[in-house]
């Protein structure tokens, strides 16, 4: 369905005819709330995605000597970067939601813990946090393991990928918590009160009344975080994760051709972020409320 509409729109944008002529099929009559009508027009920024993709393909096709070789070498890193981003993001959403609810909780203990988490994490650079999780956390785990004579912990071997996910989730979760907090607080209090007055519990009211409305508010900043995360995963290259950036460094160390390597790597990141940005803006137009 989505790709279908996308290619149809893409095709249409290459034709100079007005869209009404092509669009004859009657769209099902849905009641969209004012301000949330789906946009039928093609997102104009797709041309940039296409342009960068074409440039990449041309480079690889016309000069396979360095470019195709580099691509083959770094493609597993590309996969790691995507995996790392997607896996981390799922957990970031969960942590952000819990953190955001904690920030607005009436219970002072929960509120304090959530606020402390946000304040501490936001005060430390991501790179330092990643390094801490990779070097310091395993040492800490081992020490504790030795102290309590628990061999499983004492012999803990660091898994770079998992620790990188942990580092990214802990850091981005704090920013996400603030986004969710602001989103939830932007929904008028009367919505929660009406829901409670009907006998629904706090959690039911959150899930069925407040959060569905908050999604509309938080979608743009959440999408923004996703793109930031995609780019920030390049930092994990310093903590032994063989992502796109690290694979690029490895190739450069072997062949010493910085110009071609880093041009290709930059273009690969650009394609990823541009596609992600288009996907997010498509999501924003798709929501019914």
């Amino acid at each position: 369905m989505p790709s279908d509409g996308f290619f149809r729109n893409l095709w249409r944008s290459f034709q100079k005819k007005p869209p009404e002529i092509l669009e004859q099929s009657p769209t099902p009559k849905l009641n969209f709330i004012p301000g949330a009508e789906p946009r039928e027009k093609l997102d104009p920024w797709w041309w940039l995605v296409v342009a960068v993709a074409v440039l990449l393909v041309l480079l690889i096709a016309l000069k396979p000597d360095p470019y195709w070789d580099i691509f083959l070498f770094v493609r597993d890193g590309l996969a790691i970067t995507v995996e790392l981003t997607v896996i981390s993001f799922v957990f970031i959403i969960i942590v952000g939601l819990i953190g955001g609810l904690g920030r607005i909780a009436k219970n002072p203990v929960i509120h304090f813990i959530a606020s402390l988490y946000v304040e501490i994490i936001r005060g430390i650079p991501l790179l330092v946090q990643l390094i801490w999780w990779y070097y310091a956390a395993p040492a800490l785990i081992k020490e504790i393991g030795q102290a309590i004579h628990w061999d499983f912990m004492a012999n803990y071997v660091a898994n770079p990928f998992i620790l990188a996910v942990v580092g990214l989730v802990v850091c981005y979760g704090a920013y996400m918590a603030e986004i969710f907090r602001a989103g939830i607080q932007s929904i008028p209090k009367g919505q929660m009160e009406a829901s409670r007055s009907l006998g629904m519990s706090y959690l039911q009211s959150m899930i069925h009344v407040v959060l569905p409305q908050a999604i509309r508010v938080v979608l743009p900043p959440v999408g923004n975080e996703f793109i930031m995360l995609l780019k920030d995963t390049s930092l994990v290259s310093v903590v032994a994760v063989a992502d796109l950036t690290r694979r690029g460094r490895e190739f450069m160390a072997a062949h010493f051709n910085p110009l071609t390597v880093w041009t290709l790597i930059a273009l690969l990141y650009l394609v990823l972020t541009l596609v992600a940005a288009r996907f997010i803006s498509w999501l924003e137009t798709r929501r019914k409320y």
Binding site: N31, I33, P34, G35, P188, G190, Q191, E193, A194, S195, R196, S197, L198, G199, M200, S201, Q204, H208, V209, P212, Q213, R216, Y289
Partner: protein
Amino acid sequence: MVKPIIHIENVHKHFGRIHALRGVSLDVNVGEVVVILGPSGSGKSTLLRCINHLEVYDSGTIEVDGILLKTAQNINTVRREVGMVFQSFNLFAHLTALQNLTLAQRKVRKRSKAEAEKIARDLLKKVGITEKADSYPAQLSGGQQQRVAIARALAMNPKIMLFDEPTSALDPEMIKEVLDVMLALAKEGMTMVVVSHEMGFARAAASRAIFMDEGQIVEEGKPDKLFTNPTQERTKLFLSKVLQI
């Protein structure tokens, strides 16, 4: 003697340094329609919101249908029996009129989808909005939204309905359509507590009118009597201002 369905005794409520309720006591019997009026800031909304515990009161007791409002369990039981209608409608903005009526029925009353929708459609018909069932709140006029909000509360089969200035956010031409629904409800014998300055409604439907000022009940009586022959100076002053408009 019949036990009152709402029993409020010496309730106090502070907002920081504001003493919003100063020892309010009030009994409401089954089938009674009580209209509360009073100047802005006199604590009318606060009192109403204490009845279904949207506001936590500091001291005193409130019993609804024999249930003391103390534990969370009791609060939810009471809220199921007490419908509330707000000045600003507070319809769920992301749901259609019909879905606004079915959500709590399904989640709280655990009714099936078909059953909830049947009840919802019947109620929408009753308040005169059959054709707008699939519209979103933003597509409805104020009067229509408020009637949907009343229907939403009724869908839970409450024993008591609370109205907090249900018509004061409405354009004059829409006030009547909402008051008509409320009048019909009163005629059916619903127990109602209504904060409103609609004298016409009070005279036609209310068994009692209550005048509040500065967090206290100053005077109460039959609407006709209270409006034409108030005994307290503050009531007279307030009524003279309201009646001028």
